[in-house]
Protein backbone atom coordinates (compact mmCIF):
# COMPACT_ATOMS: atom_id res chain seq x y z
CA UNK A 1 0.00 0.00 0.00
CA UNK A 2 1.20 3.50 -0.81
CA UNK A 3 0.74 6.01 1.99
CA UNK A 4 1.36 9.74 1.85
CA UNK A 5 1.27 11.69 5.07
CA UNK A 6 0.98 15.50 4.96
CA UNK A 7 2.94 15.33 1.71
CA UNK A 8 4.02 18.52 -0.07
CA UNK A 9 6.15 18.68 -3.20
CA UNK A 10 7.27 21.04 -5.94
CA UNK A 11 10.24 22.05 -8.03
CA UNK A 12 11.05 25.26 -6.13
CA UNK A 13 10.74 25.98 -2.44
CA UNK A 14 7.03 26.55 -2.56
CA UNK A 15 4.75 23.55 -2.40
CA UNK A 16 2.29 23.19 -5.26
CA UNK A 17 -0.66 22.09 -3.15
CA UNK A 18 -1.82 22.00 0.46
CA UNK A 19 -0.51 18.95 2.39
CA UNK A 20 -1.77 15.70 0.85
CA UNK A 21 -2.88 12.67 2.84
CA UNK A 22 -3.36 9.68 0.59
CA UNK A 23 -3.72 5.93 0.83
CA UNK A 24 -3.62 3.74 -2.25
CA UNK A 25 -4.59 0.09 -1.77
CA UNK A 26 -2.52 -2.79 -3.15
CA UNK A 27 -3.65 -3.57 -6.67
CA UNK A 28 -5.38 -0.22 -7.12
CA UNK A 29 -5.19 1.92 -10.24
CA UNK A 30 -5.04 5.67 -9.80
CA UNK A 31 -4.85 8.28 -12.53
CA UNK A 32 -3.29 11.59 -11.54
CA UNK A 33 -4.91 14.42 -13.48
CA UNK A 34 -4.67 18.19 -13.48
CA UNK A 35 -3.66 21.10 -15.65
CA UNK A 36 -0.17 21.74 -17.03
CA UNK A 37 2.27 22.64 -14.28
CA UNK A 38 0.00 21.45 -11.50
CA UNK A 39 2.68 19.02 -10.30
CA UNK A 40 1.52 15.61 -11.55
CA UNK A 41 4.90 14.43 -12.80
CA UNK A 42 6.61 15.92 -9.76
CA UNK A 43 4.30 13.94 -7.48
CA UNK A 44 5.14 10.76 -9.40
CA UNK A 45 8.87 11.43 -9.00
CA UNK A 46 8.42 11.95 -5.27
CA UNK A 47 6.50 8.67 -5.04
CA UNK A 48 9.30 6.97 -7.00
CA UNK A 49 11.88 8.37 -4.60
CA UNK A 50 13.58 10.32 -7.40
CA UNK A 51 12.87 13.70 -5.75
CA UNK A 52 12.59 14.55 -2.08
CA UNK A 53 9.31 15.87 -0.79
CA UNK A 54 9.30 19.44 0.56
CA UNK A 55 7.40 18.25 3.60
CA UNK A 56 5.67 15.16 4.90
CA UNK A 57 6.54 11.60 4.00
CA UNK A 58 5.78 8.80 1.57
CA UNK A 59 5.72 5.10 2.30
CA UNK A 60 5.41 2.82 -0.71
CA UNK A 61 5.29 -0.36 1.37
CA UNK A 62 7.94 -2.12 -0.72
CA UNK A 63 11.71 -1.61 -1.03
CA UNK A 64 12.34 1.41 -3.26
CA UNK A 65 15.00 -0.37 -5.28
CA UNK A 66 13.38 -3.21 -7.16
CA UNK A 67 9.96 -2.74 -5.62
CA UNK A 68 9.10 0.38 -7.62
CA UNK A 69 9.37 0.78 -11.39
CA UNK A 70 9.08 4.15 -13.07
CA UNK A 71 8.19 4.98 -16.66
CA UNK A 72 9.79 8.32 -17.56
CA UNK A 73 8.33 10.65 -20.16
CA UNK A 74 9.86 9.49 -23.39
CA UNK A 75 11.46 12.80 -24.33
CA UNK A 76 13.87 12.19 -21.45
CA UNK A 77 15.28 9.19 -23.33
CA UNK A 78 18.25 9.89 -25.60
CA UNK A 79 17.00 8.80 -29.04
CA UNK A 80 20.50 8.94 -30.55
CA UNK A 81 21.97 6.51 -28.03
CA UNK A 82 23.70 3.78 -30.06
CA UNK A 83 21.88 0.65 -28.92
CA UNK A 84 19.11 -1.57 -30.29
CA UNK A 85 15.52 -1.77 -29.13
CA UNK A 86 16.05 -5.21 -27.56
CA UNK A 87 18.97 -3.86 -25.53
CA UNK A 88 16.82 -1.02 -24.21
CA UNK A 89 14.07 -3.45 -23.22
CA UNK A 90 16.58 -5.82 -21.59
CA UNK A 91 17.39 -3.15 -18.98
CA UNK A 92 14.14 -4.29 -17.32
CA UNK A 93 16.04 -7.41 -16.18
CA UNK A 94 18.33 -5.21 -14.03
CA UNK A 95 17.41 -6.82 -10.72
CA UNK A 96 16.16 -10.10 -12.11
CA UNK A 97 17.58 -13.40 -10.88
CA UNK A 98 16.35 -15.39 -13.87
CA UNK A 99 18.73 -17.66 -15.76
CA UNK A 100 19.81 -17.03 -19.33
CA UNK A 101 17.28 -19.26 -21.06
CA UNK A 102 14.42 -18.00 -18.90
CA UNK A 103 15.39 -14.44 -19.72
CA UNK A 104 15.43 -15.19 -23.43
CA UNK A 105 12.01 -16.81 -23.29
CA UNK A 106 10.55 -13.95 -21.21
CA UNK A 107 12.17 -11.36 -23.47
CA UNK A 108 10.71 -12.97 -26.56
CA UNK A 109 7.26 -13.20 -25.04
CA UNK A 110 7.37 -9.57 -23.87
CA UNK A 111 8.50 -8.29 -27.26
CA UNK A 112 5.68 -10.31 -28.82
CA UNK A 113 3.14 -8.96 -26.32
CA UNK A 114 4.01 -5.40 -27.25
CA UNK A 115 4.22 -6.08 -31.01
CA UNK A 116 7.93 -5.37 -31.11
CA UNK A 117 9.33 -8.71 -32.31
CA UNK A 118 10.18 -7.47 -35.79
CA UNK A 119 11.74 -4.27 -34.46
CA UNK A 120 14.07 -5.81 -31.89
CA UNK A 121 17.27 -5.25 -33.88
CA UNK A 122 16.36 -1.67 -34.84
CA UNK A 123 18.44 1.15 -33.43
CA UNK A 124 16.64 3.66 -31.20
CA UNK A 125 17.14 6.41 -33.78
CA UNK A 126 15.01 4.49 -36.27
CA UNK A 127 11.99 4.07 -33.99
CA UNK A 128 8.86 6.17 -34.14
CA UNK A 129 7.60 7.83 -30.97
CA UNK A 130 4.95 5.14 -30.50
CA UNK A 131 7.42 2.32 -31.04
CA UNK A 132 9.80 3.83 -28.47
CA UNK A 133 6.92 4.17 -26.02
CA UNK A 134 6.05 0.50 -26.46
CA UNK A 135 9.70 -0.41 -25.90
CA UNK A 136 9.75 1.59 -22.65
CA UNK A 137 6.55 -0.13 -21.53
CA UNK A 138 7.98 -3.53 -22.49
CA UNK A 139 11.04 -2.75 -20.38
CA UNK A 140 8.73 -1.96 -17.48
CA UNK A 141 6.88 -5.26 -17.90
CA UNK A 142 10.14 -7.19 -17.46
CA UNK A 143 10.57 -5.84 -13.94
CA UNK A 144 9.08 -7.58 -10.93
CA UNK A 145 8.17 -4.29 -9.28
CA UNK A 146 5.05 -4.28 -7.13
CA UNK A 147 4.47 -0.56 -7.62
CA UNK A 148 4.35 0.83 -11.15
CA UNK A 149 4.50 4.59 -11.67
CA UNK A 150 3.76 5.62 -15.24
CA UNK A 151 4.31 9.17 -16.47
CA UNK A 152 2.06 9.67 -19.51
CA UNK A 153 2.05 6.03 -20.61
CA UNK A 154 -0.35 6.81 -23.45
CA UNK A 155 2.02 9.26 -25.12
CA UNK A 156 2.46 8.70 -28.87
CA UNK A 157 0.56 5.38 -28.85
CA UNK A 158 -1.85 4.55 -31.65
CA UNK A 159 -5.13 2.67 -31.10
CA UNK A 160 -3.43 -0.73 -31.22
CA UNK A 161 -0.79 0.48 -28.77
CA UNK A 162 -3.45 1.88 -26.43
CA UNK A 163 -5.27 -1.46 -26.46
CA UNK A 164 -2.02 -3.24 -25.59
CA UNK A 165 -1.36 -0.74 -22.80
CA UNK A 166 -4.76 -1.24 -21.19
CA UNK A 167 -4.56 -5.03 -21.54
CA UNK A 168 -1.29 -4.85 -19.64
CA UNK A 169 -2.62 -2.46 -17.02
CA UNK A 170 -5.47 -4.85 -16.31
CA UNK A 171 -3.06 -7.78 -16.18
CA UNK A 172 -0.73 -5.92 -13.79
CA UNK A 173 -3.68 -5.15 -11.54
CA UNK A 174 -4.70 -8.82 -11.48
CA UNK A 175 -1.13 -9.64 -10.45
CA UNK A 176 -1.64 -7.41 -7.42
CA UNK A 177 0.56 -4.55 -8.58
CA UNK A 178 -0.30 -1.03 -7.52
CA UNK A 179 -0.43 1.46 -10.38
CA UNK A 180 -0.29 5.22 -10.47
CA UNK A 181 -0.32 6.94 -13.83
CA UNK A 182 -0.26 10.53 -15.03
CA UNK A 183 -2.61 11.25 -17.88
CA UNK A 184 -4.30 14.03 -19.83
CA UNK A 185 -6.71 11.70 -21.55
CA UNK A 186 -9.75 12.00 -19.29
CA UNK A 187 -12.16 10.76 -21.93
CA UNK A 188 -10.05 7.67 -22.62
CA UNK A 189 -9.57 6.92 -18.93
CA UNK A 190 -13.27 7.09 -18.19
CA UNK A 191 -13.78 3.84 -20.13
CA UNK A 192 -11.90 2.03 -17.41
CA UNK A 193 -12.53 1.33 -13.78
CA UNK A 194 -9.99 3.66 -12.33
CA UNK A 195 -9.57 6.06 -9.43
CA UNK A 196 -8.77 9.68 -10.08
CA UNK A 197 -6.62 12.15 -8.17
CA UNK A 198 -6.98 15.74 -9.26
CA UNK A 199 -4.00 17.92 -8.40
CA UNK A 200 -4.86 21.58 -8.01
CA UNK A 201 -3.58 24.60 -6.12
CA UNK A 202 -6.62 24.75 -3.92
CA UNK A 203 -6.24 21.11 -2.91
CA UNK A 204 -6.26 17.56 -4.21
CA UNK A 205 -9.52 15.75 -4.84
CA UNK A 206 -9.97 12.01 -5.05
CA UNK A 207 -12.91 10.48 -6.87
CA UNK A 208 -13.66 7.79 -9.47
CA UNK A 209 -12.30 9.00 -12.80
CA UNK A 210 -15.76 8.74 -14.39
CA UNK A 211 -16.99 11.40 -12.03
CA UNK A 212 -14.25 13.78 -13.14
CA UNK A 213 -15.08 13.03 -16.75
CA UNK A 214 -18.74 13.72 -16.11
CA UNK A 215 -17.94 17.00 -14.45
CA UNK A 216 -15.49 18.00 -17.11
CA UNK A 217 -16.99 21.42 -17.44
CA UNK A 218 -16.55 22.04 -13.74
CA UNK A 219 -13.03 20.63 -13.82
CA UNK A 220 -11.77 23.55 -15.86
CA UNK A 221 -12.79 25.87 -13.10
CA UNK A 222 -11.32 23.75 -10.30
CA UNK A 223 -8.00 23.25 -12.06
Amino acid sequence: MIECHRLQWGAGRHPLTPPLDLQLAVGSLTAVIGSNGSGKSSLLKVLAGLDRPLAGRVDVGVPRMGGVAYLPQQQLVDRQFPIRLAELVAAGFWRSRLGRSERQARMRQTLKDWGLLELQTQGLHALSGGELQRALLARLSLTDAKVLLLDEPEAALDDVGLDLLWQHIERWQREGRTLVLVSHNLAGLSQYNCDGLLIARSGCIRAPIRQFAAERQGLGQVA
Binding site: L76, V77, P82, L88
Partner: protein
Protein backbone atom coordinates in the same frame (compact mmCIF):
# COMPACT_ATOMS: atom_id res chain seq x y z
CA UNK B 1 57.33 1.47 -48.56
CA UNK B 2 58.71 -1.69 -47.05
CA UNK B 3 57.18 -3.10 -43.88
CA UNK B 4 60.57 -2.59 -42.26
CA UNK B 5 59.95 1.15 -42.07
CA UNK B 6 56.87 0.45 -39.96
CA UNK B 7 58.72 -1.57 -37.33
CA UNK B 8 62.40 -0.65 -37.43
CA UNK B 9 62.43 2.24 -34.90
CA UNK B 10 60.62 0.12 -32.35
CA UNK B 11 63.02 -2.82 -32.79
CA UNK B 12 66.04 -0.58 -32.68
CA UNK B 13 65.23 1.79 -29.81
CA UNK B 14 63.97 0.85 -26.38
CA UNK B 15 62.50 4.33 -25.76
CA UNK B 16 60.37 4.00 -28.90
CA UNK B 17 59.17 0.60 -27.71
CA UNK B 18 58.22 2.03 -24.34
CA UNK B 19 56.40 4.95 -25.95
CA UNK B 20 54.57 2.57 -28.29
CA UNK B 21 53.45 0.06 -25.66
CA UNK B 22 52.48 2.73 -23.16
CA UNK B 23 50.60 4.92 -25.62
CA UNK B 24 48.83 2.05 -27.37
CA UNK B 25 47.64 0.80 -23.99
CA UNK B 26 46.47 4.29 -23.11
CA UNK B 27 44.68 4.65 -26.46
CA UNK B 28 42.80 1.41 -25.69
CA UNK B 29 41.37 2.84 -22.48
CA UNK B 30 41.08 6.51 -23.50
CA UNK B 31 39.05 5.75 -26.66
CA UNK B 32 36.16 3.99 -24.89
CA UNK B 33 36.17 6.71 -22.21
CA UNK B 34 35.88 9.27 -25.03
CA UNK B 35 32.89 7.39 -26.47
CA UNK B 36 31.12 7.68 -23.11
CA UNK B 37 32.08 11.36 -22.76
CA UNK B 38 30.36 12.00 -26.09
CA UNK B 39 27.31 9.90 -25.18
CA UNK B 40 27.00 11.75 -21.88
CA UNK B 41 27.24 15.10 -23.69
CA UNK B 42 30.40 15.90 -21.80
CA UNK B 43 32.74 16.19 -24.78
CA UNK B 44 34.33 19.40 -23.48
CA UNK B 45 34.85 17.94 -20.04
CA UNK B 46 38.07 16.18 -21.10
CA UNK B 47 39.50 19.41 -22.43
CA UNK B 48 38.63 21.32 -19.30
CA UNK B 49 40.04 18.64 -17.01
CA UNK B 50 43.28 18.48 -19.02
CA UNK B 51 43.75 22.21 -18.42
CA UNK B 52 42.78 21.71 -14.81
CA UNK B 53 45.55 19.14 -14.32
CA UNK B 54 48.23 21.71 -15.10
CA UNK B 55 48.38 23.71 -11.84
CA UNK B 56 48.43 20.47 -9.83
CA UNK B 57 51.28 19.06 -11.87
CA UNK B 58 53.14 22.40 -11.74
CA UNK B 59 52.78 22.62 -7.96
CA UNK B 60 53.99 19.03 -7.59
CA UNK B 61 56.95 19.85 -9.84
CA UNK B 62 57.76 22.93 -7.76
CA UNK B 63 57.69 20.98 -4.51
CA UNK B 64 59.08 17.59 -5.50
CA UNK B 65 60.87 18.06 -8.82
CA UNK B 66 60.36 15.78 -11.79
CA UNK B 67 58.92 12.73 -10.04
CA UNK B 68 56.19 10.69 -11.67
CA UNK B 69 54.23 9.79 -8.52
CA UNK B 70 54.25 13.43 -7.39
CA UNK B 71 53.22 14.77 -10.81
CA UNK B 72 50.51 12.11 -11.08
CA UNK B 73 49.16 12.78 -7.61
CA UNK B 74 49.21 16.55 -8.17
CA UNK B 75 47.48 16.23 -11.53
CA UNK B 76 44.93 13.79 -10.16
CA UNK B 77 43.96 16.04 -7.26
CA UNK B 78 43.75 19.12 -9.48
CA UNK B 79 41.80 17.30 -12.22
CA UNK B 80 39.28 15.80 -9.81
CA UNK B 81 39.06 19.17 -8.05
CA UNK B 82 38.26 20.79 -11.38
CA UNK B 83 35.50 18.31 -12.22
CA UNK B 84 34.15 18.49 -8.67
CA UNK B 85 34.22 22.29 -8.57
CA UNK B 86 32.35 22.54 -11.87
CA UNK B 87 29.71 20.10 -10.64
CA UNK B 88 29.44 21.97 -7.32
CA UNK B 89 28.99 25.37 -8.98
CA UNK B 90 26.35 23.87 -11.26
CA UNK B 91 24.46 22.33 -8.38
CA UNK B 92 24.63 25.37 -6.13
CA UNK B 93 23.97 28.14 -8.64
CA UNK B 94 22.30 26.52 -11.65
CA UNK B 95 25.03 27.80 -13.99
CA UNK B 96 25.25 25.24 -16.81
CA UNK B 97 28.09 22.80 -16.41
CA UNK B 98 29.78 23.70 -19.69
CA UNK B 99 29.77 27.36 -18.67
CA UNK B 100 31.28 26.67 -15.26
CA UNK B 101 33.92 24.46 -16.89
CA UNK B 102 34.72 27.16 -19.44
CA UNK B 103 35.09 29.63 -16.57
CA UNK B 104 37.33 27.36 -14.52
CA UNK B 105 39.79 26.16 -17.11
CA UNK B 106 41.42 29.47 -18.10
CA UNK B 107 41.94 30.04 -14.36
CA UNK B 108 43.61 26.64 -14.10
CA UNK B 109 45.75 27.13 -17.19
CA UNK B 110 46.90 30.60 -16.14
CA UNK B 111 47.70 29.55 -12.60
CA UNK B 112 49.55 26.49 -13.91
CA UNK B 113 51.74 28.60 -16.18
CA UNK B 114 52.41 31.09 -13.35
CA UNK B 115 53.27 28.28 -10.94
CA UNK B 116 55.75 26.87 -13.43
CA UNK B 117 57.29 30.34 -13.72
CA UNK B 118 57.48 30.64 -9.94
CA UNK B 119 59.09 27.22 -9.71
CA UNK B 120 62.04 28.80 -11.47
CA UNK B 121 63.61 25.54 -12.49
CA UNK B 122 63.49 24.53 -16.07
CA UNK B 123 60.53 22.33 -16.78
CA UNK B 124 59.85 22.73 -20.42
CA UNK B 125 56.27 23.98 -20.63
CA UNK B 126 55.96 22.86 -24.22
CA UNK B 127 57.05 19.41 -23.18
CA UNK B 128 54.39 19.31 -20.47
CA UNK B 129 51.67 20.52 -22.80
CA UNK B 130 52.60 18.59 -25.92
CA UNK B 131 54.65 15.62 -24.71
CA UNK B 132 57.69 13.76 -25.86
CA UNK B 133 58.15 10.09 -26.56
CA UNK B 134 61.52 10.32 -24.85
CA UNK B 135 59.76 11.02 -21.56
CA UNK B 136 58.43 7.47 -21.25
CA UNK B 137 60.83 5.69 -18.92
CA UNK B 138 60.10 2.30 -17.41
CA UNK B 139 58.19 3.75 -14.45
CA UNK B 140 55.98 5.80 -16.76
CA UNK B 141 55.43 2.76 -18.99
CA UNK B 142 54.23 0.68 -16.05
CA UNK B 143 52.06 3.59 -14.97
CA UNK B 144 50.45 3.74 -18.40
CA UNK B 145 49.96 -0.03 -18.67
CA UNK B 146 48.53 -0.16 -15.16
CA UNK B 147 46.20 2.77 -15.76
CA UNK B 148 44.93 1.29 -19.02
CA UNK B 149 44.32 -2.13 -17.47
CA UNK B 150 42.66 -0.67 -14.41
CA UNK B 151 40.46 1.63 -16.51
CA UNK B 152 39.24 -1.16 -18.76
CA UNK B 153 38.51 -3.34 -15.75
CA UNK B 154 36.51 -0.64 -13.97
CA UNK B 155 34.75 0.26 -17.22
CA UNK B 156 33.69 -3.37 -17.56
CA UNK B 157 32.19 -3.30 -14.07
CA UNK B 158 30.33 0.00 -14.46
CA UNK B 159 29.47 -0.45 -18.14
CA UNK B 160 25.79 -1.28 -17.77
CA UNK B 161 25.09 1.42 -15.22
CA UNK B 162 27.04 4.00 -17.19
CA UNK B 163 25.21 3.18 -20.43
CA UNK B 164 21.78 3.24 -18.83
CA UNK B 165 22.64 6.40 -16.92
CA UNK B 166 23.50 8.11 -20.21
CA UNK B 167 20.44 6.77 -22.01
CA UNK B 168 17.73 7.14 -19.39
CA UNK B 169 19.02 8.40 -16.00
CA UNK B 170 15.62 8.55 -14.30
CA UNK B 171 14.86 4.90 -14.99
CA UNK B 172 18.27 3.90 -13.66
CA UNK B 173 17.76 5.96 -10.52
CA UNK B 174 14.44 4.25 -9.98
CA UNK B 175 15.97 0.76 -10.05
CA UNK B 176 19.50 1.24 -8.74
CA UNK B 177 21.61 3.47 -6.53
CA UNK B 178 24.64 2.69 -8.65
CA UNK B 179 24.25 5.59 -11.12
CA UNK B 180 26.02 8.41 -9.21
CA UNK B 181 28.75 5.98 -8.15
CA UNK B 182 29.30 4.90 -11.76
CA UNK B 183 29.44 8.55 -12.82
CA UNK B 184 32.05 9.37 -10.17
CA UNK B 185 34.13 6.31 -11.06
CA UNK B 186 33.92 7.27 -14.73
CA UNK B 187 35.12 10.84 -14.10
CA UNK B 188 37.99 9.51 -11.99
CA UNK B 189 39.02 7.26 -14.87
CA UNK B 190 38.95 10.20 -17.28
CA UNK B 191 41.19 12.25 -14.99
CA UNK B 192 43.51 9.29 -14.37
CA UNK B 193 43.95 8.64 -18.10
CA UNK B 194 44.59 12.31 -18.86
CA UNK B 195 47.12 12.60 -16.02
CA UNK B 196 49.06 9.49 -16.91
CA UNK B 197 49.02 10.40 -20.60
CA UNK B 198 50.51 13.85 -20.28
CA UNK B 199 54.05 12.53 -19.84
CA UNK B 200 54.20 10.81 -23.20
CA UNK B 201 51.65 12.68 -25.24
CA UNK B 202 51.24 15.97 -23.43
CA UNK B 203 48.50 17.29 -21.16
CA UNK B 204 46.57 18.94 -23.98
CA UNK B 205 47.26 16.39 -26.71
CA UNK B 206 46.02 13.43 -24.69
CA UNK B 207 42.51 14.92 -24.91
CA UNK B 208 42.81 14.48 -28.67
CA UNK B 209 43.67 10.83 -28.21
CA UNK B 210 40.56 10.49 -26.05
CA UNK B 211 38.03 12.41 -28.15
CA UNK B 212 39.08 12.13 -31.83
CA UNK B 213 38.92 8.33 -32.17
CA UNK B 214 35.63 8.34 -30.28
CA UNK B 215 34.17 11.05 -32.52
CA UNK B 216 35.46 9.27 -35.65
CA UNK B 217 34.01 5.92 -34.55
CA UNK B 218 30.52 7.49 -34.41
CA UNK B 219 30.59 7.77 -38.21
CA UNK B 220 31.15 4.03 -38.62
CA UNK B 221 28.68 2.36 -36.29
CA UNK B 222 25.49 2.86 -34.34
CA UNK B 223 26.21 -0.01 -31.96
CA UNK B 224 27.74 0.70 -28.59
CA UNK B 225 29.46 -2.71 -28.39
CA UNK B 226 31.15 -1.86 -31.71
CA UNK B 227 31.92 1.79 -30.94
CA UNK B 228 33.98 1.04 -27.83
CA UNK B 229 36.56 -1.35 -29.36
CA UNK B 230 36.54 0.64 -32.60
CA UNK B 231 37.56 3.86 -30.83
CA UNK B 232 40.33 1.94 -29.05
CA UNK B 233 41.55 0.47 -32.34
CA UNK B 234 41.56 3.80 -34.16
CA UNK B 235 43.48 5.37 -31.27
CA UNK B 236 46.03 2.54 -31.19
CA UNK B 237 46.71 2.72 -34.94
CA UNK B 238 47.09 6.51 -34.74
CA UNK B 239 49.57 6.14 -31.87
CA UNK B 240 51.66 3.68 -33.85
CA UNK B 241 51.72 5.71 -37.06
CA UNK B 242 52.08 8.98 -35.15
CA UNK B 243 55.16 7.75 -33.31
CA UNK B 244 56.69 6.69 -36.64
CA UNK B 245 55.97 10.10 -38.12
CA UNK B 246 57.44 11.78 -35.08
CA UNK B 247 60.55 9.58 -35.30
CA UNK B 248 61.27 10.03 -39.00
CA UNK B 249 60.37 13.71 -39.23
CA UNK B 250 61.86 14.64 -35.82
CA UNK B 251 58.59 16.17 -34.64
CA UNK B 252 57.00 16.15 -31.15
CA UNK B 253 55.08 12.89 -30.68
CA UNK B 254 51.84 14.26 -29.20
CA UNK B 255 50.83 16.52 -32.09
CA UNK B 256 51.79 13.82 -34.64
CA UNK B 257 49.50 11.29 -32.99
CA UNK B 258 46.66 13.78 -32.57
CA UNK B 259 46.92 15.13 -36.11
CA UNK B 260 46.75 11.61 -37.52
CA UNK B 261 43.70 10.98 -35.38
CA UNK B 262 42.35 14.30 -36.67
CA UNK B 263 42.96 13.25 -40.26
CA UNK B 264 41.11 10.00 -39.65
CA UNK B 265 38.27 11.93 -38.04
CA UNK B 266 37.98 14.15 -41.14
CA UNK B 267 38.05 11.07 -43.37
CA UNK B 268 35.29 9.48 -41.27
CA UNK B 269 33.28 12.69 -41.37
CA UNK B 270 33.30 12.55 -45.17
CA UNK B 271 33.22 8.83 -45.89
CA UNK B 272 31.68 7.23 -42.78
CA UNK B 273 28.51 5.20 -43.48
CA UNK B 274 26.61 6.66 -40.50
CA UNK B 275 25.70 10.24 -41.37
CA UNK B 276 28.98 10.77 -43.23
CA UNK B 277 28.80 13.69 -45.67
CA UNK B 278 28.93 11.41 -48.73
CA UNK B 279 26.16 9.15 -47.48
CA UNK B 280 24.03 11.82 -45.94
CA UNK B 281 20.65 12.42 -47.47
CA UNK B 282 19.62 14.98 -44.91
CA UNK B 283 20.35 17.92 -47.21
CA UNK B 284 17.71 18.05 -49.91
CA UNK B 285 19.21 18.82 -53.30
CA UNK B 286 17.54 21.58 -55.23
CA UNK B 287 18.08 22.14 -58.91
Amino acid sequence: MTPDILWAPFIEFAFMRRALFGSVALACSAGPLGVFLILRRMSLMGDAIAHGILPGAALAFWLFGLSLPALTAGGLVAGLGMAGAAAWVTRRTGLREDASLAALYPISLASGVLLLGLAGRKLDLLHLLFGSALAVDTTTLYGMLGTAGFSLLVLLVIFRALALDSLDPLFLRSISRFGPLAHAAFLTLVVLNLVIGFQAIGALMVVGLMMLPAAAARFWSRRLPVLLPLAALIGAVCVWLGLLLSFYASLPSGPCIVLLAGAFYLFSLVAGPVHGLLRSTSFPMTV
